[in-house]
């Protein structure tokens, strides 16, 4: 199995987003497992033993697996139904579908017989979280092996029961067929009455992508209808008997201190519970309208801190408070920058500014918490169910086994739902109220009390020969983060560093992490350099690139866009950009039109994307489309406005996100590399759009923009 941490583009977790111990296991008692799910056959996975069973093909329990400690991945019931257990969660990437395809492919069962059990800490093996485009390369690979292991054992069992040779048997559609005798047995019949637990075998024969019949094809969203009829229960839709609706008292600004609070009037309202623990004040009522009234009835006095950076001052603040890079942020150097600059015919210095932006998941944070006999169950929309389980255990000082976190398919995340604020708040109120409590954040709360993609300052200094050879590349990133920091171009002398700063706003992961900022700065600068030596943007990149996968997407995007085929008319401009992240390779061409009033319109976008062997072409295209459109918002107009610890645009009228009318004509072209392992697709596809548009505006007007967003008002200043 390919370890994603050893890939050339490792996932870089944001501080605090990974559990302290990496190898914590979620385990479930073996007897309990079969009691819960019925007999049959289960493929188990025990983290520290993953590869130690490689040579054991038997169906008995290997001695190294403690009988009581088994975390199942795939269970085939006596009725032939297949349950797949994974800690990965569905936030719209359509992995419920793509992972089903992978299991169906390897196990040789119909997709309809598969149920994915996802993100339930009582039922699924430990998983650090759904981020970093790891589901497809990591979970997909594991499930593929688990399914292949199960299939081989079932065929083996059928061979034994028929006393026939394995050669003449074939698994197909949930049955084993005996091609010699024409006999046929269902998987459930074969495993009936058994309680078999198998370790994943690394030797199990998996199907090569070129031979895929179910994976690699478009399969519609497996639970699609439930969303189109309104039947799917997001956490914010759930209801338990006796459930109360919770609300939390919020500070008027960041870092405000609660001086005094009077909750008498709130408590006087019938059916209202008030919870006051330290600076936390929450209410619960039998209906949300009463909860809202109770919250309004609370009289709180806060001491606010007015000396906090604002949108106007934040970039200076980030540079001023930056720390020398060390550890993971240690400078990455090659050659000597000064020599490189001395050897250059042209040099260029630019500073790029990246605003804080918000994820704006359409479903705000929500949680439903219930305490029963000291055991806490929380349904919540989080990309890290096990992380939230840890948080809850810590906050309430209970054993982790006493905390169950369940994540139903959730209304999106984009890296913005790694935390469990609503879960903690709901559990806190529920514990005092003695009843289940549901808490759904308002849009304003989501904008204010979640976290943001970091803002940052990126300084780039470059040296260039007249023939287009890059001689020096100094790249200093303040606060944006390390993802996508290093350059893919051939440069003799470079010095690349990320300086962490003291962020005045709470910041965290985002789709593509910091690569949205780093690739913007790098690719903007590349086009500026091409112009210095009067080279075409595409030719200049190709000249300085060796990476064949990156070149392939660049050339494909350019070809489909018709790069270089058109003579520019007034106001028209063309730009391109490329990059890679987490195994995904992207190139984007953009056409803009800037009218006489300097209004900018993105007319057309062509994007090529490659992420190895494609698992589901339609859903891959959806992911790429979503990345382009979300990236368009951050490119053109999205920015958080803040002052004195207050968010000034915490709503969808103040914070503009892309709408139907913002859509350019978008063409997506994918490369299916069946010879390469499948990588994730939810992140890298966002990288190209902002610099491509920026470079197109430069091409149209000669104006080299250096800020993200590029045109917050819609026109050039």
């Amino acid at each position: 199995m390919e370890d994603p941490n050893k890939l050339p583009h490792p996932y870089e977790p944001f501080a605090g987003e990974l559990p302290e111990q990496a190898a914590v296991q979620s385990v479930i008692d073996r007897r309990k497992f079969f009691k819960l799910f019925g007999g049959g056959l289960a493929v188990a996975f025990v983290l520290h033993d993953l590869f130690s069973f490689a040579d054991e093909g038997g169906v008995s329990m290997p001695p190294s697996v403690p009988a009581s400690q088994v975390a199942a991945w795939i269970h085939i019931g006596e009725d032939g139904k297949v349950n797949v257990y994974t800690g990965k969660v569905e936030v719209g990437q359509n992995i419920r579908t793509s992972l089903s395809q992978i299991v169906a492919e390897e196990l040789k069962v119909p997709i309809a017989s598969i149920t994915m059990i996802m993100g339930d800490t009582d039922l699924v093996p430990f998983d650090a979280g759904t981020f970093g485009s790891r589901t497809t390369p990591q979970m997909g690979t594991q499930l593929r092996k688990a399914a292949a292991t199960a299939r081989e054992v079932i065929v083996d069992m059928a061979a034994k029961s028929w006393n026939s040779e394995i050669k003449s048997l074939r698994a197909e559609d949930g049955f084993v067929l005996n091609t010699a005798t024409g006999k046929k047995l269902g998987f459930g019949e074969i495993t009936k009455g058994q309680q078999l637990l198998l370790p994943i075998s690394d030797q199990a024969q998996v199907t090569a992508a070129k031979d895929w019949k179910v994976a690699g094809k478009t399969v519609l969203k497996v639970n699609g209808e439930s969303f189109l009829t309104g039947k799917h229960q997001y956490v914010s839709d759930m209801k338990l008997p006796g459930m109360l609706y919770g609300k939390v008292l919020r500070a008027p600004s960041y870092n405000a201190r609660l001086v005094s609070v009077d909750t008498k009037s709130a408590k006087a309202i019938a059916g209202v519970t008030v919870v006051h623990e330290g600076d936390f004040v929450g209410v619960a009522a039998t209906d949300p309208v009463t909860a809202r009234k109770a919250l309004q009835a609370i009289d709180a006095k806060w001491q606010e801190n007015h000396e906090q950076p604002s949108t106007a001052t934040v970039f200076d603040y980030l540079v001023k408070t930056s720390q020398p890079g060390g550890g993971r942020n240690a400078p990455n150097s090659k050659g000597n920058i000064r020599d490189g600059l001395l050897a250059a015919d042209f040099t260029q210095d630019r500073t790029y500014h990246i605003n804080y932006i918000a994820h704006v998941p359409l479903e705000p944070r929500a949680a439903l918490a219930r305490w029963v006999d000291g055991k806490l169950t929380v349904w919540t929309g989080t990309q890290r169910p096990f992380g939230v389980q840890d948080d809850l255990a810590g906050v309430f000082n209970v054993a982790k086994e006493k905390v169950r976190v369940i994540m139903p398919d959730t209304g999106s995340g984009y890296g913005g739902k790694h935390s469990g604020e609503a879960a903690i708040e709901a559990a806190r109120i529920s514990r005092v109220a003695g009843k289940p409590v549901k808490l759904v954040w308002t849009r304003e709360e989501e904008f204010t009390w979640a976290y943001f993609r970091p803002g940052g300052v990126i300084k780039v200094e470059s040296g260039l020969k007249a023939d287009g050879t890059i001689t020096a590349w100094k790249f200093q990133n303040y606060n944006s983060g390390g993802a996508g920091l290093s350059t893919q171009y051939n440069i003799a002398n470079h010095e690349i560093v990320h300086f962490p700063s003291d962020s005045p706003l709470k910041q965290g992961s985002y789709r593509g992490l910091a690569s949205t900022a780093n690739v913007f700065a790098r690719e903007s600068h590349m086009t500026d350099m091409a112009r210095q030596v009067k080279m075409d943007q595409l030719a200049f990149r190709l000249k300085n690139l060796d990476d064949v996968r990156l070149k392939a997407v660049l050339e494909l995007a350019a070809k489909r866009f018709g790069w270089g085929n058109t003579t520019k008319t007034t106001g028209q401009g063309f730009g391109l950009a490329c990059g890679y992240e987490k195994g995904g390779y992207v190139a984007t061409c953009a056409e803009v039109y800037v009218n006489n009033d300097k209004e900018v319109k993105v007319v057309r976008v062509t994007q090529a994307f490659e992420c190895g062997a494609i698992v589901n072409p339609l859903h891959l295209e959806n992911q790429v489309m979503g990345s382009i459109v979300q990236g368009l918002g951050g490119a053109l107009f999205e920015a958080i406005d803040f002052k004195e610890g207050k968010i000034l645009n915490p709503d969808l009228t103040g914070y503009r996100v892309p709408r139907f009318s913002d859509m350019p004509k978008i063409e997506i072209v994918t490369i299916d590399r069946k010879d390469l392992p499948s990588a994730g697709a939810g992140e890298a596809a966002i990288l190209g759009i902002a610099p491509a548009i920026r470079n197109a505006i430069l091409d149209a007007t000669g104006v080299a923009l250096t800020n993200l967003p590029l045109v917050p008002t819609g026109s050039l200043a």
Binding site: G92, N94, L220, L228, Q233, T410, S412, T442, R443
Partner: protein, 149 residues
């Protein structure tokens, strides 16, 4: 107060100034209609009131008393999906699908008044609905699939 919802008369006890969305979701357990912004800016809460797409999060329940309200739960008839739902099922445009109910209600309203809308008409009619996953071009395709040329 009595509301006419999905062809059924429902007695509700909430104050007259409470928003329709809250009544639908919390009192009547029609949770297919979603909260997205609370200011009528995202369209996730769209329902039909006398056939018109209406933002239920900013509509006081008193304003719709006696009017014909259709929510996403009221589209399918006798277990058969509404033609617009069928088109969305076939086109599979969404990612997280949280916007789906509002998108489909807006699309039903559009197609009821204009069975063969141009792309511009689709964009104009749908522009109040946000899909943060950015699937707009796919949604346009789904609506075209549901339109009668």
């Amino acid at each position: 107060m009595v509301l006419h919802i999905n062809g059924v008369k429902q007695e509700v006890t909430t104050d007259a100034d409470v928003e329709l969305l809250s009544v639908l979701r919390n009192e009547l357990e029609l949770t297919g209609t979603k909260y997205g912004c609370g200011e009528g800016a995202c369209g996730a809460c769209t329902v039909l009131v006398n056939g018109r797409p209406t933002r239920s999060c900013i509509t006081p329940v008193s304003a719709v008393s006696g009017k014909e309200i259709i929510t996403i739960e009221g589209l399918a008839k006798n277990g058969k999906l509404h033609p617009v739902q069928q088109s969305f099922l076939a086109a599979d445009p969404f990612q997280c699908s949280y916007c789906a109910s509002g998108m489909i209600m807006s699309a039903v309203a559009l197609l009821n008044s204009n069975p063969a809308p141009t792309e511009t008409a689709i964009v104009n009619a749908m522009n109040g609905n946000i899909c943060r996953c950015g699937t707009y071009p796919n949604i346009v395709n789904a609506i075209k699939l549901a339109s009668k040329p």
